[in-house]
């Protein structure tokens, strides 16, 4: 209750309880329609999954410490890497930023009271829970040993409970589809008047691009795993060569989804990176439109390059060449982004807070991950590197070094906003450095041993690879411990952390105008639009407390705290903001006419 009555600096008293205290009890969470609560529940599930997936990763690395058997037999090892991949991809990285952080933050960044379809949002969450339970439920039923890609024909022959896992993936797919659909409609229909497409935070752009892929690519995965399930269950033969089916068709279907899925993983990371980079460099993002468009073009290109996963699967030479060429074009929007981020840092007033440390890690790791991707896109080189540790290292640099690092950074960045508590900055920084060091320690040796021919997914190896495996294992433990400590530190701040102010980092987007934590419909009074990524009038009044130099009142007749009694409790944004502004207000009216899409 105490949190509800405190006074916020320069924003007047908060008369509404925050979203965590509106109602109480487990049931009020389980049937909540509030996007923030749903996002928090996603976050809890994702962090638990992260620990499960991470445990499997450490078990893999421990097994690979020495040649031959270290701790487990081959079959168990197969289950370890399968579940590591499946849990991390389907339960952590894909929903990590969009479903958890996106759910919590994105509607507030839009100044919206909620997502467009709150009930669908809750349904998505329960799809996710059901899917996660089925996927992780494969463990008590004997584990899964097909690899996370579920390639036929082995997935049709495996004795492990593939059907359970595929049904889980099917449900997770629909969770993802409905989340994306919800976000698309929210971004289209809940932008406040005056916030045109190019006044959107880049995080919203990234989530928009992601949602396009979620809606258009995931159904293909859904039908694929559905067919695989039916194939397992009724032997319809569609992927079974004995009955005239085509096992490689499964690979095409799978990668038609799973390549966009890589971008579903990375683009939201790019979105949060843009936010954090600009905030902690105290500079407007360089090349806003280029970053926005590059997100969209990455989303579209992602549908055209799936074949580069199948260069050695017997595709025609022509198809290989086309896919190879298209793969290189992906480098263009990715490079545009990196260039713009670096340009944003140039002459910036860089604050090395924990989120910024993760952001800088991201820049380095993503660059390495992206460039090694170009190696793999070269047909001749791919034949040598295919299915080696080089590939493993490459996609970990992208999926983990980039996405998960960005996720951790974003988690630190917005943690004070939605929990109302500051985390321990010292621990956060140490862990960020630990993650960076541990990550490179894990995966740089894998590039080397991959290039020297160490195949992926092998339980045993020749002695000449042992030094690389041991380096990698040491790095993995540094990485694992750092991440674990970071998460424990974050979660414990719930109880031990300092109370967070509205705007601890001096962010310029709308969520920093909302109370901390936000009330049920996010704003106790309509937020005021400012020019996006303009930090000129934000000053740090004391450590980690930022204010606008010229406070801006809401419409005079809009009394805070009574908004809920109106027909519509919270208009998502103040309408023509200029009318309410004092003459000296630094507000720059939107240069574009209000969007007229209703």
């Amino acid at each position: 209750m105490a949190t509800n009555t405190r006074t916020e600096r320069n924003d007047g008293p908060v008369n509404e309880p925050d979203f965590m205290h509106v109602t109480r009890g487990l049931k009020s969470w389980l049937i909540t329609l509030d996007h923030k609560r749903i996002g928090m529940m996603y976050l809890a599930g994702i962090l638990i999954s992260l620990i499960i997936g991470g445990t499997f990763a450490l078990l893999i690395r421990t097994e690979l410490w020495s040649t031959g058997k270290t701790i487990v037999e081959q079959d168990t090892y197969n289950k370890f890497f399968t579940l590591h991949g499946a849990v991390m991809v389907f339960l952590v990285i894909i929903p990590g930023i969009p479903a958890a952080l996106g759910n919590i933050i994105m509607p507030i960044q839009l100044g919206a009271p909620d997502v467009a379809f709150p009930r669908l949002n809750l349904a998505s969450f329960y799809f996710w829970i059901a899917g996660a339970l089925l996927l992780v439920g494969a463990v008590p039923f004997g584990g899964l040993d097909t690899g996370w890609t579920l390639y036929t024909p082995y997935s049709l022959q495996s004795k492990t409970p593939v059907l359970v896992a595929t049904m889980g993936v099917f449900l997770l797919g629909f969770s993802s589809i409905f989340t994306g659909l919800n976000f698309l409609v929210t971004i289209h229909k809940f932008r406040p008047q005056g916030m045109g497409w190019f006044q959107l935070p880049l995080n919203v752009w990234a989530i928009y691009a992601t949602a396009i892929m979620q809606v258009l690519a995931t159904p293909v995965l859904a039908i694929t795993v559905l067919l695989l399930s039916v194939e397992r269950f009724a032997h319809i033969g569609i992927f079974d060569a004995q009955m005239g089916g085509d096992p490689v068709l499964f690979q095409h279907f799978f990668w038609f989804y799973s390549h966009p899925a890589v971008y579903i993983m990375i683009i939201p990371a790019m979105g949060v990176i843009s936010e954090m980079l600009s905030t902690f460099a105290r500079k407007p993002i360089f090349g806003y439109r280029f970053i926005a468009y590059s997100s969209i073009s990455l989303a579209l290109l992602s549908f055209l390059v799936w074949g580069h996963h199948m260069f050695v699967s017997g595709q025609s030479r022509l198809a290989n060449m086309v896919f190879s060429a298209l793969t290189f074009t992906v480098g263009i929007p990715a490079a545009i982004k990196v260039f713009n981020w670096v340009a944003t840092l140039y002459k910036g007033d860089i604050r090395l807070k924990t989120p910024m440390l993760y952001t800088l890690s991201f820049l380095l790791l993503f660059t390495i991950g992206g460039l090694t991707g170009l190696f793999l896109g070269v047909l001749a080189i791919d034949v040598h590197l295919h299915d080696t540790y080089f590939v493993v290292a490459h996609f970990h640099y992208v999926m983990m070094g980039s996405t998960l690092v960005a996720f951790l950074g974003a988690l630190h960045h917005w943690w004070p906003k939605f929990t109302g508590k500051m985390y321990n900055e010292g621990i956060g920084r140490i862990c960020a450095i630990g993650v960076f060091v541990g990550f490179n320690g894990t995966f740089l040796p894998q590039f080397v041993m991959g290039a020297r021919g160490m195949p992926r997914r092998y339980w045993d190896y020749d002695p000449q690879y042992q030094i690389f495996h041991q380096l990698s294992t040491i790095g993995a433990f540094v990485l694992g411990i750092s991440m674990f400590v970071a998460i424990v530190s974050l979660v414990s701040s719930f109880w031990t952390g300092k109370r967070a102010p509205r705007n601890p980092w001096g962010g310029s987007s709308l969520e920093w105008q909302a109370p901390t934590p936000p009330p049920l419909y996010n704003f106790e009074k309509p937020p005021v639009l400012h020019e996006i990524y303009n930090y000129d009038d934000l000053v740090e009044v004391e450590e980690d407390v930022w204010e606008r130099r010229a406070p801006i009142e809401a419409e005079p007749d809009e009394v805070p705290g009574h908004a809920h009694e109106h027909a519509k409790p919270l208009p998502p944004v103040v309408a023509p903001a200029t009318a309410a502004l004092p003459a000296k207000a630094p507000y720059v009216p939107p240069t574009e006419p209000p969007e007229d899409d209703k």
Partner: protein, 557 residues
């Protein structure tokens, strides 16, 4: 200070709205905002649906591109009439769904209820027709993957299933993959059970006759094609027949069970066995026997051995005959040869049948018995013997009427076989051979033997030139023969596509029931009709997908 607040009182509940309809949710500006959001949402959902189905369409295209023969063969199993009815029903229901939206917009509650009810009825009709189609296919083993094991070919030719599983349908026509040629037989299942051997055949059979042609499929395998619609010629019911015997010396030898069988007037096991024989050996024709309850036809190999022994004896006798001076003795021996020969042919046929009916040996059935190798094996010596037998028979002046009848029939068979074997060179002989010297056999409706109306016509038919084969004929022809490899893939695709579509229709049924309840409660107003609009859009895409499925699956040419 939390719970007392009116705002907090309804907590997360988004169901309380303002602006007229009570169904405008909390977080929307107004009814229009909610409607617009819902509309965009449903369009995105439909885009998702298109992509969801796209995987199946890609699989369809891929497999059709690689295996067009599967599609052109297998689609004939689908009932175009049923598909067309469903198409019409769905298009009509799309109209009523759209009409329901208008009724909701205008606040015409009764019209809305009417339109929703009709849409719901159409959806149920669609599912009913689908149920009929599916249950037929399940019954006939027209299923996906390796469960594709149908009782009839797509051209209507009866097929024998792997395990003789088709209830009520036992085919007589077999396809022997080992020898890559059609063979024949109507033995429900071969068993060496001595009990059954003693009891003989227990079966009830419909015998139909069809004129056939032998064609080659893409792999140059011969298969038979009916040239005319099959005609039902007889119904055979045989129970508790005596064991097979090839040594009926009496004139009545082919119908021993007629006197004591339960269905005496319809013949017996022996009748049936004999019944198939001439039909089988009729050139240009094949016969189909669909038997129910049949169990075994045992003793065929034994019969063959007996027949071969008889044949040897007959040959020996014939040799004697040719050198003997005794006219009477010649006649007698000749008669023996003729009977032994007939028995041999018969036994060979039976042996083939028995072999063909072994489930492990054969699978597809689609051919006629009179394949030259199976029927007479081209043994010229035997042909000579046969000719001599016929000659002897022709010269024979003294014979009992019954004997003549039997002999006449036998000679007809033999003649036909020869014709088939070498019809181009011996057309004249066919006619001669087909001429029956004895008195015409009295017509017995229960006996296929009695159905020979005009032997001359048979011979003519066999040597009549065929009309030129058109592309359409080729296509039809393909559909008649044995199924191409992996035909089940078509039905994998068929069941996946129509099944997924059917689930969508079923979901639509629930949606329309829900809408109907709400419409009856009067919850839709001109302010608030979004759910009707969105459901109608959903229904249109379900309809649209079917409009693609119908030609892609049913109308392949």
């Amino acid at each position: 200070m939390t719970v007392e607040q009116p705002h907090a009182a309804h907590g997360d509940d988004h169901g309380h709205g303002h602006h007229g309809s009570p169904f405008i949710q909390h977080h929307y500006d107004d009814a229009q905002h909610q409607f617009d959001s819902g509309k965009l949402g449903i369009w995105l959902f439909l885009a998702q649906e298109v992509l969801f189905f796209s995987g199946l369409f890609v699989a369809y295209i891929l497999y059709r591109f690689h295996h067009p023969e599967i599609y052109s063969y297998a689609h004939k199993y689908l009932d175009v009439k049923m598909g067309a009815i469903n198409t019409a029903v769905l298009i009509f229901s799309s109209l009523t769904a759209a009409w329901a939206v208008r009724a909701a917009q205008l606040g015409q509650r009764k019209l809305l209820i009417g339109c929703l009810s009709v849409t719901l009825l159409c959806a149920l009709t669609f599912l009913g027709v689908k149920y009929m189609e599916y249950s037929h296919k399940i019954h006939e083993h027209i299923l996906f993957g390796s469960r594709f094991d149908p009782c009839v070919s797509s051209g209507g030719t009866p097929l024998l299933t792997k395990n003789n599983e088709c209830p009520g349908h036992k085919s007589s026509i077999l396809w022997d993959y080992d020898s890559a040629k059609p063979i024949t037989g109507c033995m429900p299942a071969f068993s060496v059970d001595t009990d059954l051997q003693q009891r003989g055949i227990q079966a009830s059979c419909d015998v139909t006759e069809t004129q056939i042609e032998i064609k080659k499929d893409r792999k140059n395998n011969p298969f038979v094609v009916p040239a005319e619609k099959p005609t039902k010629t007889a119904e055979k019911i045989a129970t508790q027949c005596p064991p097979l015997s090839l040594h009926h010396e009496d004139a009545d030898g082919d119908h021993p069970a007629a006197e004591h069988g339960e269905h005496g007037e319809h013949g017996s096991a022996a009748c049936w066995r004999v019944a198939e024989q001439p039909a089988v050996c009729r050139p240009g024709w094949f016969f189909t026997t669909r038997c129910t309850g049949g169990e075994t036809f045992a003793g065929a190999e034994q019969a063959l051995a007996v027949a071969l022994r008889d044949k040897a004896e007959a040959d020996k006798a014939l040799a004697k005959v040719t050198t003997a001076k005794d006219e009477a003795r010649i006649k007698a021996e000749t008669a023996n040869v003729a009977k032994a020969e007939a028995a041999l042919i018969e036994a060979e046929g039976i042996a083939v049948l028995a072999k063909a009916c072994k489930p492990t040996e054969t699978y597809w059935a689609s051919s006629a018995y009179q394949d030259r190798n199976e029927c007479i094996d081209g043994r010229s010596a035997r042909e000579k013997a046969i000719k001599k037998v016929i000659q002897a028979e022709t010269d024979k002046k003294v014979a009992t009427a019954a004997y003549t009848i039997t002999d006449c029939v036998r000679s007809e068979q033999v003649g036909v076989i020869v014709e088939h074997h070498d019809h181009e060179e011996q057309p004249a002989e066919i006619i001669a051979l087909a001429t029956c010297k004895g008195p015409p056999k009295p017509v017995d409706p229960g006996d296929i033997l009695a159905d020979r109306e005009n032997p001359l016509v048979l011979g003519k038919k066999a040597i009549d030139p065929q009309r030129p084969v058109t592309a359409h004929d080729e296509h039809e022809l393909e559909a008649m023969g044995p199924p191409p490899d992996h035909t089940g893939m078509f039905f994998t695709i068929y069941f996946a596509m129509t099944g997924l579509h059917g689930i969508h229709v079923l979901f639509g049924v629930f949606v329309f029931i829900w809408l109907l309840i709400r419409a009856v409660k009067g919850q839709f107003t001109p302010d608030y009709f979004g759910p009707v609009d969105f459901a109608a859009l959903y229904w249109h895409i379900v309809d649209l997908i079917w409009i693609f499925l119908f030609p892609l699956l049913y109308l392949i040419h």
